[in-house]
Subunit: 226 residues, 2 copies
């Protein structure tokens, strides 16, 4: 079975790639250079794709910074740091990039149809990022309808399925799954801050560090501050 | 009311822009440079946006030719020419670009949310292009759900509406509407072939020429062959 895996280079998408392989899929990966401040993640995506011996790895380039509106694409907006986990879960943060997963899934759909793939894997997670509207199940179900009705394959009864292995997992459970699947954590990159060493204080670093700590594990990625 | 209008530079999207203005909207336009062979249409899009005095015109660049699969993005695939109108209406043609409208609408959604716009206008048409899965009403309704569930604005009860003024119109009716609205036909570009003068034989040229002829009008765009 052919699958397209959305691979950001982070801990979640790396786990999803290894899950897709464990599901018996031959995987092609797609990543995005959208002028995100943490473009460093693309180096991680490339390394992970290589470690996982994927069929192909496509990087799509476009510029979401041209209209601003998010701390992830507009460096004049300060990145939140040192927020509590509760605070992160309750609001839609300034790191929200309007319609980002919709754009990502659209390209994945196009790529999957071009390759006659049957599945698209995405590492959305409704628990740790409950503030993001485009990480929830009802949203994924709406995109599934678009996958069915918006393509030739779907109209012919062969709709490409969106698979979300992490949607109901906590970060600690994702790490446990990844441990089981042999994900190379040292190759992953989660930090939003845009440096060459993970900052340790942005939302993404904090969620990750807290989960490794809770499991009594050492996160192999070095941090500026922790 | 603020609206984002998907403007390809063709006859349909130009008419949609003028309709959005007639509906009382302040319009920002979005166009795409996706390495389509008929990138000439972007010059038309710029001219039309200027004539219509829009607020902003954003051109998003990415490369859909990198994975091939369509005659519109892969110049090694021959473009169909001299097909009958019946033939065009019955099959999904090789000019179909997988998930193109989904990608376009996703970017329009992102742009609209960044600008707090209430509407996205798109010139899809279910009659002349019935072969395209992503031009039909059920597909648009599925995208509308994505617009509602996949954005902060939508989750807050202010979903951005997709407006499709042309969905049930024949090409002749679109031209009649455009005549009424004062669309500058001489600035529009429909040809798929990639030259600097419209070819007159590709599907897009033929549909357009047939409609002007049926109305007893002279299409102001020059053609290599007609």
């Amino acid at each position: 079975m052919l699958a397209v895996v959305l691979l950001s280079g982070g801990l979640d998408s790396a786990t999803v790639l290894y899950q897709a392989k464990a599901d018996g899929c031959d995987c092609s990966c797609i990543s995005f250079d959208y002028q995100q401040r943490h473009r460093r993640e693309l180096e991680s995506a490339k390394a992970i794709a290589q470690s996982a011996a994927v069929l192909e790895h496509q990087i799509i380039t476009f510029d979401l910074s041209q209209w601003g509106g998010s701390a992830l694409t507009d460096c004049s907006i300060d990145l939140p740091s040192d927020r509590s986990l509760t605070e992160m879960a309750q609001t839609i943060p300034i790191t929200y990039v309007p319609a980002r997963n919709t754009i990502f899934l659209s390209f994945a759909l196009a790529y999957a149809e071009t390759r006659s793939a049957q599945r698209v894997y995405i590492g959305v997670n409704a628990l740790d990022y409950s503030g993001y509207p485009d990480c929830r199940l009802d949203y994924i179900q709406a995109m599934q309808e678009v996958f069915r009705l918006g393509t030739k394959q779907g109209r012919e009864g062969q709709a490409i399925s969106i698979i979300t292995p992490l949607i109901n997992l906590k970060k600690t459970e994702i790490i446990q799954l990844g441990n089981h699947l042999g994900v190379p954590w040292e190759q992953t990159w989660s930090c939003y801050a845009g440096g060459n060493i993970a900052c340790g204080v942005c939302d993404a670093c904090q969620l990750r560090i807290a989960a490794f700590t809770e499991l009594g594990m050492q996160d192999p990625v070095p941090y500026l501050k922790r």
